[in-house]
Amino acid sequence: MKTLPLTRRSLLAGLAAGVAAPAILRAEAVRASDARIVISSNFGPETAFQAVVDAFNAKELGVEAVNQFDGNYEEATAKTLAAISAGRPPALMTTGWKFGYYAKRTLGARDLREIDADAAEALIANFVPSVHPLVTVDDALVGVPWAMSTPITFINMEHWRAAGLEETIPETIDTDWLYERARALDAALGGGAHPTFRSALSLSNNEWTSQSYVQNAGGAVIDETGTVGLDRPESIAGMELFCAPAHEGLWIPVGSREQDAAFVSGALSIVTTSSTRVIAYPQSAPFEVATTRFPGVPGRERRMNSGGNFLGVYAQDAEQAQAAMRFLEFCASREGQELWSGVGYLNSSIHEIPPVTPLIAAAQAQLADGLTAETIWPGTRGFEAQNAWRNWVSRMLERVDPIPEAMARAQDEITALVSA
């Protein structure tokens, strides 16, 4: 076999070729598409979102989209802030509903109508009218409704049957019904009577499901006028109902990771959490999972909240903004929505898309009932207000303070933060 001697000249030539190759390949890639947009997202490479991005790129519309996984809403927002301050904002970001004000007023999320009025109207027409207010901030259309979820109830049917409870789960439940069954599960399966049962109930220790309780009781965390409503009797009653099972010993408040792990391993009988778990829970759990609506408050009209994110445009450059609009058009299309539905979010579009699993029916029914937004934290200190509410929820669950006193103090602290 003929070999080339390693000389200084051949070494330099090899090094030069090595350095030049990526640049040549990059040039080819750039020639293949006219514009390249970066999407800061909460979804990694093996997700339905990546499938949407790949399908869009496969169409070769002159725009190459790149999915950049930036962590959860808070982490992605922090990274986008850093990118904006460096003068290189992502073209798009999946922005949590709860950060709508911050996105518009601080991060400078673009009004889609300013970028292209006709295209913006055509885009939003792909979504049911009830979600239009969720992407309207300060009269601006700040994005396309993207991920929509709502808290629902998940039940371990193996526990349910072992405790001798009814086979048919009602479509609508209230706290009396739920807590009674949690007590029955605890009595029948607790104390080692069942090999995997450890706890009957978990309502999710966070700012979201507690908001559901406050609203279902007729109160508000922050009402439509932007007023903090935690010291209202209805809000206090809602939090008393929310904390009751923890104080009774039916619920061990933990984080979402521990809660999910406990449920899929068969240690937890009932969980109220995001409807997006309709995909993950049945995939991981070795037992039948049933779903129903989130528990209402007896004698009160149900007023459930949504969660999730919208796709906002942050590109200030005209070409980048137009390219972002092309991607949004694909996202809003039937094809984009069909690909996206695989992740387990609610279908908030006008397109008829078969449900990804029958378990999503409870969430879809709540959407049909009408959903409010999750709390959108206003002001430059809105993030602190959200954190403060989370802390107060934990304190009430832990019985650190009596609930009426905690709600009054939360009212004062959060009012100061959202009005700063």
Partner: protein, 295 residues
């Protein structure tokens, strides 16, 4: 022949990269923090205005700052002695079995947790600590003891963070102690033994004085680790909760700066942290180093 001027230039050239790195990556950020502490600044809008002492006042009045400062003190009081003394005792034990077949096994087992990152260390412990059906609770139940809520219990969370941090970090100090102890001549130890010195007497009068340079290094670096690196474990294990019971000053700094985007207040917390580190380092060098026996 090279002149004195050429020698100075050469010296300056050699020192310049280090000087540049320290100036740019250490002193410049400290100066910038000092400036940001008196400004109301937001990087997205790039708008800023003079805030005077408002940021300092806001931090001082913030209950979260007082909790974080107190927790920082507790973490130091618990973890620094534990991470200095326990690895020393383990290293002494390892020295006793040095040369045996089991020694490398013990050595590897004790050092292994050091290899994982702080955040991974936190993640590894999460399934063990799950208050509903974690491994530790299952063990407690199996022996008839009541389960614990561990890191989700406001009274226990800080101690759980201490335990996990200790588990992750003690291995490095163990290696340092072990290396220092193995350099001590066996003859000296044997002579002391023949003279009737017991184990603790030998440790106090021979091992610790002869290993004192390493001990001083361990003390200084452990204080840094306890103040700073613990943030990764706090973030993964508790997120600072329950209701801020496990935060410390660097975690509060990160939270105020990169979660709440209050850069002025974050800079105040940074300056307080820098002042504490500087003070502790000064105390260590002023009062502890004089006890160090350099060969």
């Amino acid at each position: 022949m090279r002149g004195a001027h050429g020698g100075s230039l050469q010296t300056a050239g050699l020192v310049a990269p280090a000087f540049f790195a320290v100036a740019v990556f250490l002193y410049l950020p400290i100066a910038a923090s000092g400036l940001l502490a008196v400004l109301d600044y937001h990087p997205a809008t790039r708008a800023f205005s003079y805030a005077g002492l408002a940021n300092i006042e806001a931090v001082w009045r913030d209950p979260a700052f007082r909790v974080a400062a107190w927790n920082t003190l507790v973490y130091c009081l618990v973890l620094v002695p534990a991470q200095v003394v326990v690895p020393l005792l383990l290293a002494l034990g390892l020295r006793e079995i040095a040369g045996s077949r089991l020694a490398p096994v013990y050595y590897a087992c004790l050092f292994a947790p050091t290899l994982v990152s702080f955040s991974v260390a936190g993640a590894v412990w999460l399934p063990l600590l799950n208050p509903i059906n974690g491994v530790l609770n299952e063990m407690l139940i199996a022996i008839g003891l009541p389960p614990s809520r561990w890191h989700t219990d406001a009274r226990a969370a800080l101690w759980v963070v201490c335990v996990v941090t200790f588990w992750k970090t003690f291995g490095l100090n163990l290696v340092l102690w072990y290396a220092a102890l193995m350099t001590i001549p066996r003859e000296q130890i044997e002579a002391a033994r023949i003279d009737g010195a017991g184990f603790f007497r030998r440790v106090r009068d021979i091992d610790i004085p002869l290993a004192s340079p390493t001990a001083f290094f361990i003390l200084v670096t452990t204080v840094f680790t306890t103040l700073d690196d613990i943030v990764g474990i706090i973030d993964v294990l508790t997120g600072g909760g329950p209701f801020e019971r496990t935060t410390n000053l660097p975690y509060l700094l990160w939270q105020k700066g990169l979660v709440f985007f209050q850069f002025g207040q974050a800079s105040v917390v940074a300056l307080v942290t820098i002042a504490i580190v500087a003070l502790l380092t000064f105390v260590q060098f002023r009062f502890v180093e004089r006890r160090v026996t350099y060969a």
